[in-house]
């Protein structure tokens, strides 16, 4: 009981820092994307695939969040995209303060899209606003069709749900339409894209969506100057 009320206090302060982050991102016309998922759903691979498709059109940067290791930021750096690794130790999510520190590492005024890859966790990251413009959830279809009901918060908060690893559907015994129905039940407003980073299926739709959002963001930023 005590823990819940304490968390609420911590969260309020996090929201204040997140609002400041959001103001910084706006002033730089940088679209920020918070990528969340359970461990192993394929966030980094989605990032790599997205970078390969958008990297020649936009200036990208990545903040990586992990408990330990810099494996993920090294994968991004290998693609020639600036990446900063946050290692959280035992903390199971990124928070707005960690992101604030990390953005000091980038010349944000020269970044069109900043991807923030959260710690792999289907619960806690959804509770911490980072100041992002877009919440993108990556869900591995191999995890089964009933998870939207069992972990509703993250599905509910997502602007985009990428249903990843659809190439494994024939072997995993998962019904894509049932999964999609369960996602919509929890969040009818989310954009849902079934994708496979292995075969490339669905990635065109996802990156087109992102391109439209980048354009709209730049237009809004230009108007507000």
């Amino acid at each position: 009981m005590e823990r819940v009320s304490l968390l609420t206090d911590v969260r309020r302060t996090n929201d204040e820092v997140a609002a400041e982050n959001q103001a910084i991102f706006r002033s730089m016309a940088t679209l920020t994307v918070n990528l969340m998922s359970a461990p192993g759903a394929g966030k980094t691979t989605v990032l790599e695939s997205t970078i390969l498709r958008l990297g020649s059109h936009y200036r990208l940067a990545v903040i990586e969040g992990d408990l330990q290791t810099s494996i993920d930021s090294e994968r991004i750096l290998a693609l020639g995209v600036p990446a900063h690794q946050i290692t959280t130790g035992t903390v199971c999510h990124l928070d707005a303060r960690m992101v604030r520190k990390a953005i000091a590492e980038f010349p944000l005024e020269r970044v069109d899209v900043l991807f923030i890859e959260n710690v792999g966790n289907l619960v806690c990251p959804a509770e911490f606003n980072l100041g992002e413009d877009l919440r993108v959830m990556v869900y591995s279809v191999v995890e089964g069709v009933e998870k939207p009901k069992k972990y509703p918060l993250m599905f509910h908060k997502a602007d985009v749900v990428l249903l990843n690893k659809i190439d494994l559907i024939p072997y995993a015994g998962v019904e894509l339409e049932e999964l999609r129905k369960n996602v919509i039940e929890v969040n009818p407003r989310a954009a849902i894209f079934p994708i496979s980073c292995r075969t490339g299926e669905g990635l065109e739709m996802w990156t087109q969506f992102l391109t439209v959002r980048i354009g709209a963001h730049k237009a809004t930023a230009a108007e507000s100057v």
Copy 2:
């Protein structure tokens, strides 16, 4: 910062309750198994497969932990095994107090093995001792080979690591031996069983291991009477 110190306080009290739970389990000669994994790694399916193999030899009971829904406890009840569902709301792990309340639902003196299926989360459940005898981690090989390095705590604390869904290895591009090596690096003392609940591969080895542990536990309990 504040959050960390507060968590430490909560954890100390949790350890005290866990020690009491452990004493209760011992006095009833009940072996308790804490099943942990990321969401969708297959804990409930492992439980079903284990129940089908051991259910006619031992008296089993299950505590299910989920944020929402009683989907999992219904699956267990359908096999004729007593099951009690804990729904944690937004709390991302079970703690010793929740388990204490739940065990009031069972006549423990008539339970040989109590399985406690934790909330699907690769981070937080590892920090909360429930008073269990055996920590069993289920890991879906589809989540990739590098997770033991990135989420070391749960791998480190596990007595048993079940590498599940090995039937998907040919389609998921995962090297089982590399994964096993990474697990051993973080935890050289864990018993590792590659399994597939779909094909049944490896389940005999896992349930034999569990049978030996049940026997040893009963013998120890009988000696201490």
